[in-house]
Amino acid sequence: MSSSIREQFVIPKRYNMIAVALMVIGVIAIGALYITHGASKDHHESARFWASLLQNSVYFLLVVNASMFFICATTLAWGGWPLVFRRVPEAISAVVPVIGVICFAILMAITFGDNHTIYHWTDAEHVKHDEILDHKSGFLSKGFFTVMTILTIGLWSLLGWKMRKLSRSLDNNPLPGIEEGKKYIWKNTVWAALYLIVFALTVMSSIPWLWLMSIDAHWYSTMYSWYTFASTFVAGMALIALFVVFLKNNGYLELTNDEHLHDIGKFMFAFSVFWTYLWYSQFMLIWYANIPEETVYFKPRAEGPYSGIFWMMFIINFIAPLLILMRRGSKRNYTTITFMALLIIFGHWLDFYQMVFPGPSPDHVPMILYDFGVALGFVGLIMFVTGRALTKAPLLAKNHPFIKESVIHHT
């Protein structure tokens, strides 16, 4: 490896300006939303404000957290290929504690506030007369919800921090020999496995049930969490692709080449198909059985006011990646990958939109421009924190035992 590699990322001035501008837009959107809806005495009106915050914070929290899942999954599989750009998902996962705190505050405000429009099950009076919710009250209770939320966000942040620390511990003291290298890999494997266990118990099972599915508290689907996970993982890969392309265009990540971008593109392609598989499985079983207590979920979405978003999301999240990302050349083309990454992140944001909003607002689609504004705020926040995290460590994990495998990676 040549010594002329630019390891130290310097944030371009325009980058910070854009990030701050986006955050200002976000704050303005939240403020406007609060004035028009949030401050209203009508619970249905103010629920629209909280639903927007819930959708955006949960979505972007799960998306940035997917970066750490990517790192841990490849670590556990002993995959060496992402190492040349590994600092990118590491930096993105550093956003988890920041959005985690925001998301926690929003969730607590919704759970413990006196507005029960979003989470019906928080209304003790109502639950008493509702046999179904009464049966679920062990799981859907404020105490369990809070404990799970704290544990989840805390453990993601903690284990993510540990994985980042392990990676950076080699930067200034290279491993002296093969035995130490084996020990290092083993240590990484153990921590990555711990993270993945937590991940499986949260994102892949309980957390989407608590945070999102409980909006439609009577309804349930066992496919829901996997579907949410697939949604956020593919958007997370798209986010990694965006940052890799951004750094490449600014002359960093010299050792990351088309081969690595091709593999990131493959993840975007494959998990778009995987998402569709789960989305469709959930839909088809309910459509086939046609039981009212299950179809109630799809009534406003597939046929009601949200049908436009519902089917547009299907085109953006499945048809477009399937046809555009299928070719080898398009996965190696910066423009195509950037365009598709933006499209996928937007498409899965729409997916979350139609998960959250038909609960508090089943009769009409709220004015979506506000939510765009809030989303842009979160995008600015992710840009800002990720940019700062990128400057804190060299862009190349040059002493990792698998680094050579990544440099000579070939698809």
Binding site: Y280, M284, Y288, N290, M326, R328, H410
Partner: protein, 191 residues
């Protein structure tokens, strides 16, 4: 049947093979094929082979499968023998998606296997000739094509020069089954 002359070089090491392939191409020789005991990443690029069209064929087979499934089920369940399943409309696309998916995969996979065999000139009972049986074991064989004007001595010297351990002149019958070595060694070897 026309008989073609090839000059083959047997290389013992990948590290030698890669520069040799590049040198042979730069010198203007036409490489008929390089036979290796295992796939070597990047050799296709070094040899200047174009991308395979196998995936395009796969896409077309897949689309054919999709069209076949949707077309046939639509015809069967709405025109030919319409049955009321649980009050659903006759044209119930969601119920057909799994079968459509399966048929897409089936057409694409079977079609691609057959196309692959055709592109690699593989068929039952056809023995592929790779000039030197050791290319199935531990060495790499590069076969250069020749014309009437080729100076044999020069090519042999060139191959020796770029690192070939064994060099030989071979004659093969042309055609897509190019050279079945159980046969043409006896018949076509010009002494």
């Amino acid at each position: 049947m026309a008989v073609k002359k090839f000059i083959t070089g047997n290389f013992y090491d990948e590290e030698v093979l890669f520069p040799a392939v590049k040198k042979a191409r730069r010198a203007g020789y036409r490489i008929h094929e390089v036979f290796t005991p295992f796939p070597i990443h990047g050799l296709d690029k070094a040899m200047g082979l174009r991308d395979t069209s196998l995936h395009t064929a796969g896409f077309i087979y897949g689309i054919t499968g999709t069209a076949t499934a949707v077309g046939f089920i639509t015809w069967a369940l709405t025109v030919d023998w319409a049955i009321n399943f649980g009050g659903k409309p006759f044209f119930s696309l969601p119920a057909w998606i799994p079968i459509t998916f399966e048929l897409t995969v089936l057409f694409a996979s079977v079609g691609m296997v057959l196309t692959f065999c055709y592109l690699c000139q593989l068929a039952p009972f056809v023995k592929k000739d790779h000039f030197n049986p050791r290319s199935t074991d531990d060495t790499f064989v590069m076969a250069l094509e020749t014309t009437d004007k080729t100076n044999e001595e020069e090519v042999i010297a060139f191959l020796n020069n770029i690192g070939a351990k064994e060099v030989s002149v071979e004659y093969r019958e042309t055609g897509w089954w190019l050279g079945r070595y159980d046969k043409d060694r006896k018949v076509f070897h010009k002494d």
